[in-house]
Symmetry: C2
Subunit: 329 residues, 2 copies
């Protein structure tokens, strides 16, 4: 491999000068610069990032920690991040926790040893150890999806999104609304969305039967199973609508309902959150919330980049959402 020394020799200058020419730092006469650049072109020389990063403590790489690569949400966010980062010449180092909390923490430290300049964490839970790990490494971290104490966080407006959805169902005349949520370890998806549902039911004077409440695990299959259980449990006081906190679970529920011969939305209205491609093309099309995940990714990248430039940024950013009315209601 050609190194900076080779270039220096060929250009008959010191490697100091080559470095300066390459990085546009310090003075280099126009003559010499041209001579160097020509040789760089010809040889196709590219500086070793390892050496560079060892020396400068910066790598041009941003680490991403995500819960699952195989969800549309993650993909869209990563897409947005990448688009923004690529513009500035940054690369992405990807790690996938497979929803394992321990790995989340491991990866934070691992990314540090790889000298990433910053980390974007698609957070799925909040716990002491995680927060501590983040504070212990002293590189900028940005969280998406959960509000992490002391960590700049980009969050979706889960509460209001879920509240809007619940209100909408109520205004459509539904009084018995079932709910499929997820574990409260996930404060945003599990906590906030359920809280909003419960609050709005209460505010509207509607009582919730606990038989209407199910807990899934984000998968389509769990939506199917939970819908089944809910229907079984609530014989005689069956719900007329279902609010599932993710599109995938809503779609699983719809599968079960269709199998059982329910008409949607007449006999059971269904709503989800996420605006997945599935939600659009399934029959009937699913009413859902668009969180603009790609924009979230872009915003996250932008905020991280600003941190890298030592700008001060706020600790919390709230994203907007959009209710998409379709045929499942």
């Amino acid at each position: 491999m050609t190194t900076i020394n080779d270039i220096a020799q060929m250009a008959k200058v010191s490697r100091t000068t080559v470095s300066r020419a390459l990085n546009n730092s310090g003075y280099v006469s126009e003559d010499v610069r041209k001579r160097i650049m020509k040789i760089v072109e010809e040889t196709g020389y590219m500086p070793s990032q390892s050496a560079k990063s060892l020396r400068t403590k910066r790598s041009g790489v941003i680490g991403i920690i995500l819960p699952r690569l195989s969800t549309e949400t993650s993909t869209r966010v990563v897409n947005g991040i990448n688009e923004e980062l690529a513009k500035e010449g940054f690369q992405i180092l990807l790690t996938d926790t497979e929803l394992n909390k321990q790995k989340e923490i491991e990866y934070i430290r691992l990314l540090k040893t790889r000298h990433v300049d910053g980390i974007i964490l698609l957070a799925t839970n909040v716990n002491e150890e995680l927060i501590k790990a983040i504070h212990n490494i002293d590189i900028p971290v940005l969280a998406i999806g959960q509000e992490l104490p002391g960590v700049p966080s980009l969050v979706y407006d889960d509460y209001h999104a879920a509240a809007d959805l619940t209100n909408m169902l109520i205004h459509k005349g539904h009084e018995r609304i079932a709910f499929i949520g997820v574990t409260h370890d996930d404060p945003s998806v599990g906590g906030l969305r359920e809280q909003a549902y419960r609050d709005k039911m209460k505010v509207n004077g509607l009582e919730i039967q606990e038989t209407w409440i199910g807990q899934g695990d984000f998968s389509i299959e769990s939506g199917y199973e939970q819908m089944k259980s809910i229907l079984k449990r609530s014989k005689g006081q069956e719900p007329t609508a279902l609010f599932a906190v993710t599109d995938r679970m809503a779609i699983g529920a719809m599968e079960y309902l269709k199998e059982q011969g329910y008409t949607i939305p007449e006999e059971m209205a269904v709503v989800g959150i996420g605006a997945s491609a599935l939600s659009k093309y399934i029959t009937p099309s699913l009413t859902t919330i668009d969180y603009h995940n790609k924009d979230a990714g872009k915003k996250a990248a932008e905020l991280l980049l600003r941190q890298l430039k030592n700008e001060k940024i706020d600790k919390k950013f709230e994203l907007t959402y959009r209710l998409i009315m379709r045929n499942s209601v």
Copy 2:
């Protein structure tokens, strides 16, 4: 940051010894090893990968070049790769070409400067410059999805998959089968799949009207538009079935057909390739081919790893597929 020198000092040994203990290379007395490991634990020391990689020329990072992150196919492949690589402690550096051929080449060289140990390329086209770029960098490269001359390639069996699909439609009694393909710059998806369709029609004595042939760009929208054009163009000799080379385009086509009041499969049978989640949940569910993308990713990682261990591997591997019969036929 704590470095190997700090550890050496604290353990009262040389950094040579620390390095040996950490890497299990050479002799270290049990005593000393324990002393060192204890301190490593306590301090949470992690060796700088930049330094390591500068010295050893290896980084523990594999570069991935993919055409689009936001497709299920890519996601599944990356997932499989990651799963396999993570086991061996490798990380993934991700680059997205956005279907730009120039970027494909750029990224190959860029990944090299980042000292990746190998590259997996989800290839969408084959051209001289690309092949040259791959041969010029001397790190192992593995291609998925296209057969690249001289490069170990993992390919789907596009020809037979498409042939099976075509034959199946013919055996169901269809004689007028429309086709939505993509550019032949993509030899696998654009070339092979179309070739198989044409061959099987011919073998079965069926004539193809060129008005039945459309060319999309992988998007759902393009499937919609192409179906529309095909129907417009072929008035009087409308097809009774459609073979779209990807699920997404098939689904776009179905949307148009549904809008126009066609019943599927009675008035128009539709098949795709890809076994996307969408294909399963759309109504009617789509007959398609499962390429086992995740397994492909795993296999790719495994092959690359074997190359890294200097094992000789074959230049070409063909993957299996599975026809999934559903309700769109």
